[in-house]
């Protein structure tokens, strides 16, 4: 057992309102720079939809992630030999058109224009060419556009849905959508890291944050191809690739990452988890049907004395173990089994988990007409407007049963709360629902509290970063002594 610590995240999709505040917070802090204009380390997508970059889930096109080969795995698009062959011309890269041409507006024209008969307008200016441009696409161009022929209908997750099922989904009365916020998953088995020919990408020992060393990066861009989530970006100005850093400078000072801190819907949870690094290769190479279970199994119980002992042996600080025990992520993922990884079939063992949306369960239509007046306000999960198969394609590598399990549990908690507050369902029905999903009343209450009432400290359980211990891994602490604090980044010139 090789116990390591990982900062993990849960996004509760039922609570996401698609306001993009997270994206803006991230943009303002990290990617409002030359060469980074088109990057959205955090983005929010409408699903069904094609997302950003367009159709990123279509790995036949982008060749991201891992594929199983025998008892092991290999990179789909950028393995050692293939990367070497293509090192001067990486053939599967997304183009700027797959992202979008970033732009700004000539705001000063609104103030400086001479008086005239018409209102001045701020014309859009390309951030790539500096010329006036006609905006044709953006990073969330299909926002709220479920059913649009250009976007929603081309969602790669429809591959398992029949044409009739797809058509049914796009009838006006049945249109359905939800939001999918995405950041780097800080995977346990990162494809970007494996693909880098320069060895510039690394996973921080102390908390598992995946970072790109800007000094070592040589712009081969194999990581851009390899990441199936398309969450590494090439900065055309610096000639280096960049990605979400999980706001590690904020984490180190006990603050939540900017996207999570600013989240209006409070959908984001962050906490420490312990996992067994010895199992990564074996689990990532497992059969597709087992991937979801294994990606949960690799996470260890932080209360297990044996795990604690092994963690200590690996130099994990007691405070980190203690914070891992209080991690809200651990509860969602392991204890309650409500949070699922996005596309586990990419085999990167992502450490960002999603509680799937239960939202469109209401208002089932009967022959195209809404039935909102019946006593049964909640219809059956099976008849949800969003096909189970669609969610399964996103979160469980196609296993509908596992999605159903999660939705039923969430449903049971709703029924439980309805009985608590309204009291019209009858204790028996609630008991039945809870029992069916193996949920105790206490658990249902806890799920409800963490979902709906959790405050800042409960959502973000950030352990002390113990930078001193991280430094000791590479250096002696005495060398660092007296080298911190304020000062000049460059030598100050003086004299002649």
């Amino acid at each position: 057992m090789d116990v390591r610590a990982q900062v993990s995240v849960v996004f509760h999709l039922d609570k996401c309102i698609g306001c993009h505040t997270c994206s803006i917070a991230c943009k303002n802090v990290w990617t409002d720079r030359k060469g980074a204009e088109y990057m959205w380390w955090n983005n929010v997508e409408t699903k069904p939809g094609t997302g950003y970059p367009t159709a990123w889930e279509n790995q036949e096109d982008y060749k991201g992630g891992w594929v199983k080969k025998g008892n092991s795995i290999e990179l789909k698009g950028a393995g050692k030999l293939r990367a070497f062959k293509n090192i001067f011309h990486n053939p599967n890269l997304p183009t700027i058109d797959d992202y979008y041409e970033p732009w700004t507006y000539r705001y000063e024209d609104l103030f400086n224009s001479p008086e005239g008969d018409t209102q001045p307008v701020a014309r859009p200016v390309s951030l790539l060419t500096g010329k006036f441009m006609e905006i044709k696409a953006g990073p969330n161009w299909d926002d709220d556009l479920s059913g649009s022929p250009d976007y929603a209908r081309k969602d790669p997750n429809f591959k398992n849905l029949s044409q009739a099922e797809q058509e049914a989904l796009f009838q006006v009365e049945k249109l359905v959508m939800f939001y999918l916020p995405r950041i780097c998953n800080h995977c346990l088995n990162p494809a970007c890291l494996a693909a880098c020919p320069s060895g510039a990408i690394y996973k921080r020992g102390e908390d598992g944050v995946v970072l790109i060393n800007q000094k070592k990066c040589r712009a081969w861009r194999m990581c851009v191809t390899a990441c199936p989530y398309k969450k590494t970006y090439y900065n055309w100005s610096t000639g280096k690739s960049e990605k979400c850093i999980l706001c590690y400078p904020r984490l180190e000072t006990g603050q939540a990452p900017a996207c999570m801190h600013s989240c209006v819907g409070r959908i984001r949870y962050l906490g420490m988890m312990l996992y067994d690094a010895d199992l990564i290769h074996q689990f990532a190479s497992a059969d597709e049907s087992k991937l979801l279970d294994l990606s949960r199994e690799i996470i260890l119980d932080p209360r297990d004395p044996k795990v604690i002992e092994e963690a200590r042996k690996n130099g994990i600080h007691d405070s980190v173990i203690e914070y891992a025990q209080r991690s809200p992520v651990y509860r969602f993922v392991k204890e309650w089994g409500l949070a699922l990884p996005l596309h586990p079939e990419y085999r990167t063992l992502p450490m960002l988990f999603y509680v799937p949306p239960l939202l469109p369960i209401m208002g089932m239509s009967e022959e195209g007409v809404y039935e909102s007046l019946t006593e049964g306000l909640f219809t059956d999960i099976e008849q949800a407007r969003l096909p189970i198969q669609y969610l399964a394609s996103l979160f469980t590598a196609g296993n509908e049963g596992q999605i159903r399990e999660v939705l039923k549990k969430m449903m049971a908690v709703r029924l439980y709360r309805r009985e608590e507050t309204v009291g019209d369902l009858g204790a028996e029905a609630v008991q039945k629902a809870l029992k069916e999903t193996g949920t105790s009343r206490e658990q249902a209450e806890a799920i409800y509290r963490l979902t709906s009432l959790a405050n800042f400290e409960e959502r973000f359980v950030i352990p002390p970063s113990h930078r001193e211990e991280a430094i000791v891994m590479l250096d002696t602490e005495f060398e660092k002594k007296g080298t911190g604090g304020f000062g000049f980044r460059m030598a100050v010139g003086r004299g002649l």
Partner: protein
């Protein structure tokens, strides 16, 4: 500004003045030294380097005329002008110069960057009888056997190395229809060199070359008499066959263009599975 600061600036200016003076002196010294070097003109050495490959003093006409008694034949003034720039004499229409030019098969004598004084020293050297000539008594090429010609070809191509380690001729020269791409194109095509230089001249050019670049290369690593004869025999045969190498420069261009097209085609083929278009519907992607 404080008085001390001013003083400091003043001080710096003084330092600057001294530094520039020192540099000036150093520069002047270098120039004087260079001038002194230039002044030491050695007529014998100059003759050996620049004149001897085409002229003799009393050895009969070669590529250019025999220089014995040239001081009596021509006026000193004429000689200075002729040596400094023969071509401008010819284009100016000097009858003697033109006549000589025609007589010696319109071979241009290179210009010599010499002062009148240096030319006089050179003339004095010739007047005294010039260098001690070692006659080159190579057999004429007509006496060559097919084995000699074969050896010459091997030496020219470099398949047999030169005894003293000189580079093979083909590195810079081409001759006849040798090989698919001919030889080097840095120096002249040698197909008709035998006609141009004739037997004795070619022997001399091979044994005791007068061309600057060749001198740099072959004076430390001279050809042996046998090698020179074999090469002459080979060049003689090339001249007799008279096949000018047929535009290998053009071949290079075609090969370049063809190779480029082939290479790009191969690239297109090997990356045929690359992403060819964007997925963005607004830019014509996603079908």
């Amino acid at each position: 500004m404080k008085a001390e600061t001013w003083k400091e600036i003043k001080h710096c200016q003084n330092i600057n003045r001294w530094v520039s003076l020192l540099f000036g002196a150093a520069l002047l010294g270098t120039l004087l030294y260079a001038a002194a070097l230039h002044a030491a003109f050695d007529a014998a050495e100059y003759y050996e380097k620049k004149c001897s490959s085409c002229h003799t003093v009393g050895g009969g006409d070669d590529v250019g005329p025999d220089l014995k008694g040239v001081g009596e034949r021509r006026s000193e003034d004429w000689l200075i002008k002729m040596i400094q720039s023969s071509q401008s004499m010819i284009s100016a229409g000097d009858p003697v110069a033109t006549q000589l030019f025609e007589k010696f098969k319109r071979k241009k004598m290179p210009d010599h960057d010499l002062s009148p004084d240096e030319v006089k020293q050179l003339l004095a050297f010739i007047q005294q009888g010039g260098p001690v000539e070692k006659p080159i008594d190579d057999k004429p090429a007509t006496a060559a056997t097919p084995q000699d010609i074969q050896l010459g070809q091997e030496l020219f191509l470099g398949s047999r190395p030169l005894a003293n380690g000189g580079p093979a001729c083909i590195s810079c020269h081409s001759v006849g229809s040798l090989g698919p791409l001919g030889g080097g194109s840095l120096a002249l095509d040698l197909t008709q060199v035998y006609s141009r230089y004739e037997d004795a001249g070619l022997s001399k050019a091979l044994r005791k070359t007068g061309f600057n670049i060749m001198r740099e290369i072959y004076v430390p690593r001279p050809l042996t008499g046998e090698e020179a004869f074999a090469l002459k025999a080979f060049l003689f045969q090339a001249d007799r066959q008279g096949q000018e190498s047929t535009g290998f420069q053009k071949k290079f261009v075609f090969l370049g263009v063809g190779g480029c097209v082939l290479f790009l085609g191969l690239m297109d083929l090997s990356w045929r599975k690359r992403r060819k278009k964007t997925a963005k519907p607004s830019h014509g992607g996603l079908s």
